[in-house]
């Protein structure tokens, strides 16, 4: 049964491997994926733990339903983050998680540091540590090719780092396929610090199913219902770039480091339709019926010959308007470069926007940068990306992410829009208050993937919202009313989805018709033989949220760290969201509601009764 998939502890210092079963009571409490990752991380996480220390556990965790007909097959990768210094946790699609599961494993916990560059090979119940010295400096796509060739396994799936990860660039992701990335919080740099170039997996083991006939029948019914939703159909055609139009039209886009929040009519160049001229089809992650990523090929112009997958709306925003760039082909080129080097498109966009605003304001000059970092200067950014990956010139400073303030001076942090020492992304949350709260409370620091209630943009009737969220929620995007509940709900269900390996886009994210706890409960019973009620599955999500909160408490964080950047308290100067601003009092009201629903006290610390209910240690 899928719950029998093992956890392996690998120590790269002494090359030892220990393989253990995961007790069923641990499965019932944490399921898998992010749940078990946090359970393991919490046993090692201290305020003092250096993210680049061999003692920092790097945890690869496949969702419990990854490898089944699970509506995606995702994996969480966690450790202490070298990018923020706090919780490191990131999630990746593609085919890698399923291959790990087919090879008999669910979780890999990697400690230590190898004396030479190595990679792991996980296959049908076994784990080998293999020489990777010949892969030094090789890009993320070629690394995967060479490992397949080295192993004689063309079907091996590989998660790896590129030059940036080897060079400990603090915002380097773990990459698989052409563009999938466990992007934020710098898990690629943690791999680099361990001299671990890649993890390769190849599995041919059966995945036993508890009740095959009823499972298949239930799956087909659920699949057809999901695919009849407008959201799923739109995503199948346009991918995530479809989100750009609303973001720009309503005025919650990050433009020039959030100095503006729309690019107006000029944004047409980045609408989803603009990508179709390069697209020759749509591609999926493993077990995904939606297929939301473009296969693209730029055939003419400055960037002719660029081929790849995507790009996602998050990357378009982060390496586009945020940097003053509206040339889609140029943005695609930047994404491709980032993917090959193993640089996170989103965090990197945030740090680039920061240094470009410092340049605009004269806080740093060409003497420091050696480059003309004017908004929209694609060529200068291409050069800077090369420098970052190679850690040369000004790029060596930017490679430090937020820690570059040590060079620029502390006052420079006024222009880095960050939460919990982690930068905000491609949007500006002054208009959509649920988005603002979600960014402020996200356990890994500013992040839309922890809770973004994209549903809020739809303005659905409040009766429907009440049914989804279990209490009153305003359907006005700019309203604070009920948004604490909205964020709490999405944080919890997203945590449960990450424990199961289910993709955001198939769950309740942008559509109330997405999969919810009832479906999760049914899939667990029919596929994994794990009988858990919908509320027990929800409790797993709550448990993960409270457990992550306790890690932040260990870092000395509390309510005052659930705050927004200073710029959010200044009104938007122009565009459709002109005048929108965050009011601290109203924000506090949302935060109180959110804490109450989580069972946390006024300081944002889980109450003893909550910890007892969830079976967590204080």
């Amino acid at each position: 049964m899928i719950t029998d998939r093992k956890i392996a502890y690998v120590n790269l210092s002494d090359r030892s491997v220990r393989i253990e079963s995961i007790p069923v009571e641990v499965r019932r409490k944490f399921l898998g994926g992010r749940g078990i990752n946090m359970h393991v991380l919490s046993q090692h996480y201290t305020r003092e733990l250096d993210p680049f220390s061999p003692d920092n556990p790097l945890i690869f965790g496949a969702g419990l339903l990854s490898g089944t007909l699970g509506f995606g097959a995702r994996m969480s990768i966690s450790a202490k983050s070298p990018e923020s210094g706090h919780i490191g946790d990131t999630n990746i699609g593609g085919d890698f998680a399923a291959e790990v599961v087919k090879a008999g494993f669910s979780h890999l916990v990697i400690f230590g540091k190898s004396s030479e560059l190595v990679y792991l090979f996980v296959h049908d119940g076994r784990i080998e540590i293999r020489d990777a010295r010949s892969l030094k400096g090789i890009d993320t796509v070629e690394t995967q090719r060479q490992i397949r060739s080295d192993l004689g396994e063309p079907k091996a799936q590989v998660a790896c780092i590129g030059l940036a990860g080897e060079n400990l660039v603090r915002f380097s992701p773990v990459r698989t396929g052409v563009k999938s990335a466990a992007g934020r919080t710098g898990m690629g740099a943690v791999m680099g610090s361990k001299n671990l170039k890649a993890v390769a997996a190849r599995g041919t083991l059966d995945i036993e199913i508890a009740d095959p006939d009823r499972y298949l029948t239930y799956y087909l019914k659920t699949l057809h219902k999901l695919m009849s939703a407008k959201w799923a159909q739109a995503l199948s055609k346009d991918g995530t770039p479809l989100l750009f139009r609303a973001c720009n039209a309503l005025g919650f886009l990050s433009v020039r480091n959030n100095q503006l929040t729309t690019v107006g009519e000029a944004g047409k160049s980045l609408h989803a339709e603009a990508l179709h001229r390069h697209s020759s089809g749509m591609l999926s992650c493993y077990a995904c019926p939606i297929h939301c990523r473009h296969r693209y090929d730029i055939k003419e112009g400055t960037y002719a010959g660029t081929k790849g997958e995507g790009p996602e709306y998050g990357s378009i925003g982060s390496l586009g308007p945020k940097l003053g760039i509206l040339d889609l082909d140029g943005i695609i080129c930047l994404c491709e470069l980032a993917n090959h080097y193993g640089l996170d498109t989103m965090s990197m966009g945030s740090y680039l926007a920061w240094v470009m605003e410092l340049y605009q304001r004269g806080i740093i000059t060409r003497d420091t940068t050696g480059l003309t970092l004017e908004w929209g200067n694609v060529d200068a950014i291409i050069e800077l990306i090369h420098q970052i990956a190679h850690r040369k010139g000004f790029g060596d400073i930017v490679a430090e992410g937020r820690f570059a303030h040590r060079v620029f001076g502390d006052a420079s942090l006024d222009y880095l829009l960050e939460i919990k020492d982690f930068p905000i992304e491609m949007t500006d949350e002054r208009l959509p208050k649920s988005f603002a709260l979600g960014m402020a409370t996200a356990s890994r620091g500013a992040c839309h993937m922890r809770s973004r209630a994209s549903i809020d943009v739809l303005g659905l009737p409040e009766e429907i919202l009440k049914k989804v969220y279990g209490g009153p929620v305003s359907n006005r995007l700019a309203s604070y009313d009920g948004k604490g509940r909205m964020v709490w709900y999405h944080e919890v269900i997203n945590a449960a989805s990450d424990a199961l390996g289910i993709c955001r886009f198939q769950s309740v994210f942008s559509s109330p018709n997405g999969l919810g706890y009832r479906v999760y409960s049914r899939l667990l019973e029919l596929a994994a033989g794990l009988k858990m009620t919908p509320s027990e599955v929800r409790a797993v999500g709550e448990r993960i949220c409270s457990m992550e909160r306790m890690l932040l408490v260990r870092d000395g964080m509390s309510r005052e760290d659930d705050r927004l950047p200073g710029r959010y308290f200044e009104p938007i100067l122009e565009g459709p969201a002109k005048g929108h601003v965050i009011h601290q009092g109203e924000f506090d009201r949302m935060l109180d509601e959110y804490y109450r629903l989580h069972g946390w006290n006024k300081n944002g610390v889980p109450k003893p009764a909550t910890l007892r209910r969830l079976g967590l240690d204080a």
């Binding site: 399923a98 796509v141 041919t204 095959p212 298949l216 695919m227 199948s236 992650c285």
Partner: protein, 122 residues
């Protein structure tokens, strides 16, 4: 009746392989499936599903004294038959070939192929 393939539509999700093994064997193992997606995920990214073409003249059975109609209904075949398939459309794993029996008339792979790469042809 047979399954037609339009490879440019294939998204590479592997759901066809998964439901094929699940329907026939009660477990999920893409290696034990009669439909197989050859993925060029690091190259052209054009993925190529292949599946038995239900040939009228079954080269796969040539030289064997068997009832073709009965064999068409079987899912697990001997691996040697795959070598005789001129289209290399019979996947082999651990000595067995996996043959498309059309799920008795309602191919499950087609039901899960949301991009429409697999369709039923009469």
């Amino acid at each position: 009746m047979r399954i037609s393939v339009e490879k440019n539509r294939c998204s590479g999700c592997h759901l066809c392989e998964m439901v094929c093994s699940l329907y026939h064997l009660g477990r999920i193992n893409p290696e034990k499936s009669a439909v197989r997606v050859a993925k060029d995920d690091l190259g052209s990214r054009v993925h190529t599903p292949s599946v038995c073409r239900q040939c009228k003249k079954m080269a796969c059975l040539s030289g064997e004294e068997v009832n073709e109609r009965a064999e068409k209904k079987n899912f697990v075949w001997g691996g040697d038959r795959a070598e005789r398939c001129p289209f290399k459309a019979l996947p082999v794993f651990e000595g067995h070939a996996y043959h498309c029996d059309l799920c008795g008339g309602k191919p499950r792979c087609v039901e899960v192929c949301t991009p429409g790469a697999l369709t039923v042809s009469k």
